[in-house]
Structures are given as C-alpha cells and as structure tokens.
C-alpha cells in the first residue's frame, strides 16, 4: 500500500480526486509561519501585566469569602430538606384521600415504588362467616404474580326462581404490581344476606374484614371433597358441582342475573374494566369450557376480550352464574361446570382442577 505523505499533492492527486492533500505542518515555510504565529510571548504583549494585577486585586476584594459560603450551605441544605419532607408528607396524605380512580392510580404508583398509602376511610365490617365459601364454589386460584389479594366471595341465596342473588365479599389486597382492584361496593345489589358486605373498597390496602380470611387459597385440592354449605347463606342452594373445584383464576366482568357466583380466591383474574396484567396469570381452574352455554340467564359479561387467559379465550363465555358484578377488580373464581339453580351450567370449567394453587399473596 502506498504511503501517503502530507504535503505532497502529487502523490495523492491521482487517487481519483477524493483525497485532499493536507498542508505540510511539519516543515517548510508554512510550518515556520505558524510557528512564528504561535511563538512565545513578546515583551510588548506583556506590558499590561501591572494593570491586570491591579484589576485582579480590586476584583478579588469583592469576592465572597469562603466562610460566608460555609455558613450558607448547611442552611440551604436544612431548608431544602424540610421543604422536601413537607411536600412528601403532604403528597402522601393527599394520595391517601384521593377518591376513586385517582386514588387507585396514586396508590398504584406509590405501591410500585414501595410506598403504601393507607386508606382513610373506615373499613366496613364483614362477618367472619361470610368469608367461608361454599366448598363447591371456592376458587382457590391465586395469581401470585399478579399481586392481588385473596378474595372471598360467598354465594348467597337465590331469591326467586329466576334470579339468584350473589353476594360476595371481596377482600382484595391491593396489588403491589399496580394491578387495579376495583371497588367492591357495587356488589351489594339485592343481597340476600346482610352479612355479606361489599361496602369495603377492594382497593384499600391491607384491609381485611374482621374474621375475614387473609388468604384465599382454601379451595380443596381434592375435587371429590364434599361440598359444604355456606354458613352465612342458609338459603343458598349449592350450585356448584363439588367435583369441579375452581382453581381460582378468575375472569371478570360478570353481570348476571341468575346463577351463583363464587367470587372466591380469584386472584388471577381481573374484572371487566381492568385490563391489567393480572388476567394473564396462570389459570388454575377457572377456565371456560368451550362449548359451555354461557350467559344463559341473560348475564352480561363485560370482561375484556383481550384477556390472555388461554383457557378462557373470551370472558363473555364465562358468565353463566349470573352473579351481578359491576365493580371493577373483582375476582371471580368460578366453579366450573356449575349448574345454577336455573339449571345454568357455569361456563367456567376448570382447565385443571388439580392444578397447584399458588400461595396466597400477602404482599403488603
């Protein structure tokens, strides 16, 4: 390869005209010229040193002293610290009292960073017995990665031949992963038993009703276990097939008028208006059986169709029990294959009734 020498245009001039020769700065007249231009200081260039010193002396007298700086620095740090603390505490207090979606959003954001804002509203009392779900209706699926709190939903009585009222008590711990757990207050319609409380907002963090179970995964792993009658719902007709135990992955958004809804330990599903990632939790049994009559009693399912639960491709096929759930964030652990009082078969057939149940999420 030919070596290019700077300052030799003849050597590189033939290279297609794309290479420009550099001036020779190492030797030659140009180098001498530049060296003279950048040469050492001359005497006449340093004549103004005395004036410069005078100017420096006068200017240095007006400089702020270091002591003043040392005094000001701690004061500024203290003031800024106090202001930061004040703003932070005020913000946290305000975030705890924010209503509705704003509060949930704030709690979700703060929860994501490890700051948990407690509720200021009183917690509605919930009877302990209401948290005892029917064995046939207990869904024990826990989507631990969704971070949802265990929920208990006890089936209540049917008040008529065409209507079966569902009463659910959802104790939802607030998810730590930002998954929204909507208010459960909308579940209180036409409750047969007053012991079932829906007044508690499920978005409240770590608010368990007295006697309520903090963990949800009480679903019997033995699908052949005999059903137990809910203690709080004496009029409740066992509507679920004891052999079909819901795993707990819930598919939400059920607005039904009949049947029995067991909103048990559903922690994997997310209700209708919630499009969080909790719906992608592994299904442990609340899987809609394809071909199962859905919403046969006029139930309206408003669950998002974009749910990623592979066992339940569409939430609209899940609602057969008719549990009226309008709130968001409720987790319905369906008893798959359940036949309601109207003879409606619950569409939530378990994908695997013996699927392992994840431990209850007790994330604060």
């Amino acid at each position: 390869m030919r070596e290019l020498t700077p300052g030799v245009p003849d050597d590189i001039g033939s290279l297609d005209g794309t290479v420009v020769a550099l001036p020779n700065l190492m030797s030659g007249e140009l180098a001498d010229l530049l060296a003279a231009a950048a040469g050492p200081a001359q005497e006449h260039e340093l004549r103004g040193e005395f004036a410069a010193r005078t100017a420096y002396r006068s200017a240095a007298a007006s400089w702020p002293t270091r002591r003043r700086r040392l005094v000001r620095t701690p004061a500024a740090v203290a003031v800024s610290t106090m202001a930061t603390l004040l703003v932070a505490s005020t913000g946290l207090a305000a975030a705890a009292d924010l209503p509705g979606p704003a509060g949930r959003t704030a709690q979700g954001v703060l929860g994501a960073v490890g700051v948990h804002v407690g509720p200021s509203a009183p917690v509605a009392p919930v009877a302990a017995s209401t948290s005892t779900p029917s064995s046939g209706n207990v869904a024990a699926g826990v989507a631990a990665r969704a971070g949802l709190a265990p929920a208990h939903c006890a089936s209540s009585t049917a008040t008529g031949p065409t209507q079966q009222l569902a009463a659910c008590t959802v104790h939802a711990l607030r998810p730590t992963s930002g998954v929204h757990v909507g208010p459960a207050s909308t579940h209180g319609e036409a409750q047969a038993t007053p012991t079932v409380s829906h007044g508690q907002s499920s978005s409240r963090h770590l608010r368990l009703a007295p006697g309520g179970r903090p963990a949800v995964s009480k679903a019997p792993r033995n699908p052949t276990a005999p059903p137990t009658t809910p203690t709080t719902t004496p009029t409740t007709t066992p509507t679920t097939d004891p052999s079909a135990i819901g795993g707990g992955t819930t598919r939400g958004g059920n607005i039904g008028t009949g049947g029995t809804c067991t909103s048990g330990a559903g922690t994997g599903g997310v209700d209708s208006s919630t499009t969080s990632t909790s719906s992608t939790a592994p299904s442990t049994g609340d899987a809609a059986t394809p071909g199962t009559p859905s919403a046969s009693d006029g139930a309206t399912n408003s669950a998002p169709t974009g749910s990623t639960d592979p066992a339940a491709p569409d939430a609209s096929t899940l609602n057969a029990a008719g549990c009226t759930h309008k709130g968001t964030g409720h987790h319905h652990a369906r008893t798959p294959g359940t036949t309601t009082s109207q003879g409606v078969t619950d569409a939530h057939a378990p994908a695997d009734s013996t699927a392992p149940v994840a431990p209850p999420s007790s994330t604060p």
Partner: protein
C-alpha cells in the same frame, strides 16, 4: 505552566502572583487573536476581557482547556459586542497600562522575532475572516477542533474545513510572494499541529 489546577486554585483564592502566571500564559495568544479580529482596540478589549475573567474567576470550574476556551469565548463575545455597538468612543485607559516595561532581551532578537510574528499575523489576517479565526484559534491559541467549534458556533467538520482551506491558502500565498517565515523560532519549540 507546570500545574494549571494549582495555579488556578491559588488565583481563585486571591493569590495575585498565581493570577499573573495565568495572565502571562494566555495574554499573548489573546492579544494576537484580538489584533486579528479588532486590531484598533485589541489592547483595550484585552484589558476588558481580563477584567471580566477576574470577576468570574471564583466561579470557574474546569481544566486548562476549559479555561482557555472560556477566555477566548469571552473574547469573541466582547469583540462581537464591540462590532455590534459600533462604538468608537474613547475609553478611559489607566495610566498604569501605558507604562512600558523595559525589555530584558536583545533588541535585535526582539526586532527579528517581532517581525516574524507580525509577518505571520499579517498573513493570517489576510485570510477570509472565518478561516483566519479558525486558524488563529486552532493554531495560535492551541485549542482542539471541538473547542474551536463551540467558540465559533460551528460544527467540528466545518472548523476542520475552514482550517484546511486557510492553511492551504496561506501556503499558496507564501509560494506566490516568496515570503518565508524567518527562522527565529527554533524548530524544537514549534508545536506539532494537526489540522
């Protein structure tokens, strides 16, 4: 300058001698740059620039290249202000600045060196303004391309092009005029400059 950081810290603490070291180091290049940009008022502008530098000296934080860039940026802004106002009004000059210090070197050598520098500066000043400024900042002031680009408000590539064109034009003029730079500056004192 042996230790720029130490000298600068001392100057920032109020050490007048340390400031004098800084001033002697950077005054020649500053004055040459100003003579190319605004020859009639180069000395006055230099004094004003140093006054501004002194006022802001305690707040300066940087290395030698940063200080050099700060100084020449201040100079360029001051020259721009001077051209913008178009002022030719006389300014008060302190009597101390008029004092001419006796020369410590040989008169003949000083004349020869003065001639060499003046010749070089005259040739550079004949370049187009942008090219002359790029060559001055890049070669006389000894700043890198990035710093020159920041001062001139151009891209580094543009500065390289300006320097290259300016140097080529200087070379061409030297050949045309038959003017050779006097060998007053020893070869070992010359700085290797890569445009």
């Amino acid at each position: 300058m042996v230790d720029f950081r130490g000298t600068l810290n001392a100057a920032q603490r109020g050490d007048e001698d340390a400031f004098a070291v800084l001033w002697r180091e950077y005054q020649p290049g500053l004055l040459r740059y100003l003579r190319m940009k605004a020859a009639p008022v180069a000395d006055d502008l230099a004094a004003d620039i140093w006054l501004r530098v002194v006022r802001s000296l305690p707040t300066f934080d940087g290395d030698e290249a940063g200080f050099r860039g700060w100084l020449f940026t201040t100079a360029r802004n001051r020259v721009t202000d001077w051209y913008r106002t178009g002022s030719r009004r006389p300014e008060l000059i302190e009597h101390a600045s008029l004092v001419v210090l006796p020369s410590a070197s040989n008169v003949e050598d000083e004349a020869a060196e003065h001639s060499a520098t003046d010749t070089a500066m005259a040739l550079i000043s004949e370049l187009p303004p942008d090219q002359a400024e790029a060559v001055m900042l890049r070669i006389v002031a000894g700043m890198d391309v990035g710093r020159v680009a920041e001062i001139m408000g151009r891209t580094p590539g543009s500065v390289r092009v300006l320097c290259h064109r300016g140097l080529r034009k200087l070379e061409q003029r030297l050949v045309e005029r038959g003017v050779g730079a006097p060998a007053s500056v020893p070869t070992e004192q010359r700085e290797v400059i890569h445009a």
